[in-house]
């Protein structure tokens, strides 16, 4: 299913995420045509079970979709919708219709009504539904029931605050018992890792094309050793981020795997900063203009690396765990992060 997912995503997003769409989205326009195509192709339902209205792909297969969403800088909550519908499926709930997003909290469900101020919600003002958590329950809410305050990340993607006051959930169910307590934060970190890997891949392609075309001092700048070495490092960072992100997806078949996701997000967040810096150094002045498409990706990388936990947050999480294990358990703790025998689910 992986290949089919990747081909579909490349076709839909490649055709419809144009510079014009991206510019319009930055001014707050909802890219209707793009989202319709996403829905028609069932992309947001990729990892939800068929019985619950989904496509029935594995979470590991969904990796390529989320990476492609990052690669194309899709200005819609595609990655979030895929994640939310997968989590709903694991909790036994039907997939959400339309665009969905998630909120780490805090909020509380009391007597079947939910109240809380949910900050930093991707497309909170535009999505149909938001998945959040109240103690041991997943709660799916209609965004229309909230008072929304707009906020924008570096790429002018909406990161809104939603205030719910005694709103009636669309659905609710117990969080699966084997889930870690911060399953939503982990889920968010996991999709951002994959999006970063996709974005880095795009930077690499853009920078290579430019280096082969741009002539200075009588030859393409790609002939200069300093440029070559920088692009080699960009490729390495892309590979590292992608490998780590895919491992996180592969390890999370039954629910977000904390160790693998912490590794993936910390590696990807570091790679995002390094990669953006290299791409801008290679492209020079032209890459600093709004006219060139480079910034649609680099401005996203500069935000995605901070969202759902920065490199520091997740690296420290791993570091504390390794130190708690101590010397004798160190190696076992490291390889436990990458499950030996593939996905178990």
């Amino acid at each position: 299913m992986r290949d089919m997912f990747e081909e579909t995503a490349e076709r839909v997003l490649g055709d419809l995420v144009t510079p014009e769409t991206l510019v319009a989205a930055e001014s707050g326009a909802w890219p209707e045509a793009l989202w319709s195509a996403v829905e028609e192709n069932g992309l947001g339902l990729a990892a939800a079970p068929e019985a619950l209205g989904g496509v029935g792909g594995s979470w590991h297969d969904a990796f390529v979709l989320v990476r492609a969403a990052g690669r194309h800088a899709a200005p819609v909550p595609l990655a979030e919708t895929i994640l939310v519908n997968w989590l709903l499926g694991l909790a036994g709930l039907d997939a959400a219709p339309g665009a969905a997003t998630l909120a780490v909290g805090p909020g509380r469900l009391v007597d079947d009504v939910f109240s809380g101020t949910l900050a930093d919600v991707p497309w909170g003002g535009q999505a149909g539904h938001v998945l959040t958590r109240s103690e041991d329950s997943f709660v799916l809410l209609s965004c229309a029931d909230a008072k929304s305050t707009a906020a924008l990340n570096t790429a002018r993607e909406p990161r809104d605050t939603l205030v719910f006051a005694e709103a009636r959930p669309v659905a609710a169910a117990p969080v699966p018992v084997h889930f870690p307590p911060d399953a939503l934060l982990l889920g968010g970190a996991m999709i951002r890792s994959a999006q970063i890997a996709g974005g880095l891949g795009r930077l690499l392609d853009t920078a290579i094309d430019y280096a082969n075309q741009r002539v200075q001092f009588g030859r393409p700048i790609g002939k200069f050793q300093a440029i070559q070495h920088q692009l080699a490092v960009l490729a390495e960072q892309t590979a590292l981020a992608s490998a780590a992100a895919e491992m996180a997806f592969a390890s999370s078949a039954r629910g977000p795997c904390p160790e693998a996701i912490a590794a993936a997000k910390s590696v990807a967040s570091e790679a995002a900063g390094q990669g953006a810096a290299i791409a801008h150094a290679v492209l020079g002045a032209i890459g600093f203009t709004y006219e060139h498409v480079l910034h649609f990706t680099t401005r996203r990388l500069w935000s995605w690396r901070s969202e759902f936990g920065s490199q520091a947050v997740w690296a420290q999480d791993i570091g504390r765990r390794l130190c708690r294990q101590g010397e004798s358990g160190l190696w076992a703790a490291i390889i436990a992060t990458a499950p030996a025998s593939a996905s178990k689910g």
Partner: protein, 382 residues
């Protein structure tokens, strides 16, 4: 490299006394400027501010008194500069004219040119820009194609400049253009001119940058008539004259203090009790600023003595650029807040803004490749 290039150079008492004067001015005039505007500092354009600064006698202080200056030394200018930058003052409307154009005119200009331009600069009224890069000559200035051809008493200029900071709000440009063949010398046959940007045939097109702001421009010259007084210095010696400016351009405190506002908001966000990672990185940045300042002061002492610290200045610039480009990376590592545009806390906004601006730090004054090439040659690598 001679390490003596970086011998310790204390700020003389006389220059140091200016600090209080500048701080008093700033505490008056900066009161209502919010952090996200301060973040612009070196790129922040505010003609009212520059005029007030000029009226306070703090622009062109190294210029002769007959032009309104104080005939003070390089250290006096240094003290004023660093205080302005540290406060995030919007200095862009006078900075280039004060740093480069006025000294260039004083050094190479005719008395008439000096009379005509320097007093306005010193009053903070005249904004200059510097026309160097061209569409097909980014880092490679030897391939400049704009050309001024002699005609009667003057010249006719045709060509294009690009990536020119502030051209859209400057009265004048000092441009490096071709006036003859270079012969064997790749840098020969070039000259410097003052160009009135309001002159017929000049078109200025701002270039929108990735943050949505407009600092850079593309400028078109179509048969622009320049009179004989437009030539600065000697015809054909433009390259050498430009090189003489570089030490001024590359060694100043704007090479490591233009992102100070982010350090301010970061320290505010972290609070009085940093954790070990925060303390390490904030201290590391502080230590590097201290060390770079020592190097920069050492270069200033050489400028003051009339030396040629081009190599040392390039060294300051390259380390300073690295530091300024690192700062947003470190700030995002240490802070819980996410970068925000048109929303969020002061720190979140300053973080987003300077993260986006950071790539341009290695565009101004020479790319890192160019600078490191200069450094390598200066080291005697053959």
């Amino acid at each position: 490299m001679r390490l003596t290039d970086f011998a310790f150079a204390p700020i003389p008492e006389a220059a140091e006394t200016l600090r209080g004067e500048v701080r008093a001015f700033l505490s008056r005039e900066m009161r209502d400027i919010p952090p996200v505007v301060r973040a612009d500092s070196w790129m922040g354009y505010d003609t009212a501010f520059s005029r007030k600064l000029g009226a306070a006698g703090l622009i062109g202080i190294t210029m002769p008194k007959r032009f309104g200056g104080r005939e003070a030394g390089a250290f006096a200018r240094y003290v004023v500069s660093e205080e302005l930058l540290a406060a995030g003052a919007p200095v862009s409307a006078h900075w280039i004219a004060d740093r480069q154009s006025a000294p260039l005119l004083l050094h190479f200009g005719t008395p008439a040119q000096q009379e005509r331009y320097i007093p306005g600069i010193v009053r903070g009224e005249t904004c200059f820009c510097i026309g160097m890069s061209e569409p097909n000559a980014g880092s490679d200035l030897a391939s400049i194609g704009s050309r001024a051809v002699r005609e009667r008493e003057g010249w006719v200029l045709n060509g294009r400049k690009i990536w020119t900071t502030n051209a859209h709000r400057s009265q004048y440009m000092i441009a490096l253009v071709r006036t003859g063949g270079g012969g064997d010398d790749r840098h020969g046959g070039m000259s410097q001119f003052v160009i009135d940007l309001a002159a017929p045939g000049v078109t200025v097109r701002p270039i929108r940058d990735l943050s949505g702001g407009e600092h850079f421009n593309e400028i078109f010259f179509d048969d622009v008539a320049l009179d004989g007084e437009a030539l600065i210095g000697t015809e054909g010696k433009g390259w050498a004259q430009v090189m003489a400016e570089l030490a001024f351009e590359r060694s100043g405190p704007e090479r490591f203090l233009s992102s100070m506002t982010l350090l301010h908001t970061l320290v505010e966000e972290v609070g009085a009790e940093p954790d070990a990672l925060q303390a390490f990185h904030i201290g590391r940045i502080g230590a590097r600023i201290v060390a770079l300042r020592a190097m920069s002061l050492s270069v200033t002492a050489q400028l003051d003595r009339g030396g040629d610290p081009t190599w040392a200045a390039s060294c300051v610039k390259d380390i300073g650029t690295a530091l300024e480009q690192e700062l947003p990376e470190i700030a995002q590592l240490l802070s819980a807040g996410e970068p925000r545009v048109d929303s969020g806390s002061d720190h979140e906004q300053v973080l987003a803004y300077l993260t986006q601006l950071a790539p341009s730090f290695s565009l101004r004054g020479g790319t890192r490749e160019i600078l490191r090439g200069i450094l390598a040659r200066g080291l005697g690598l053959r």
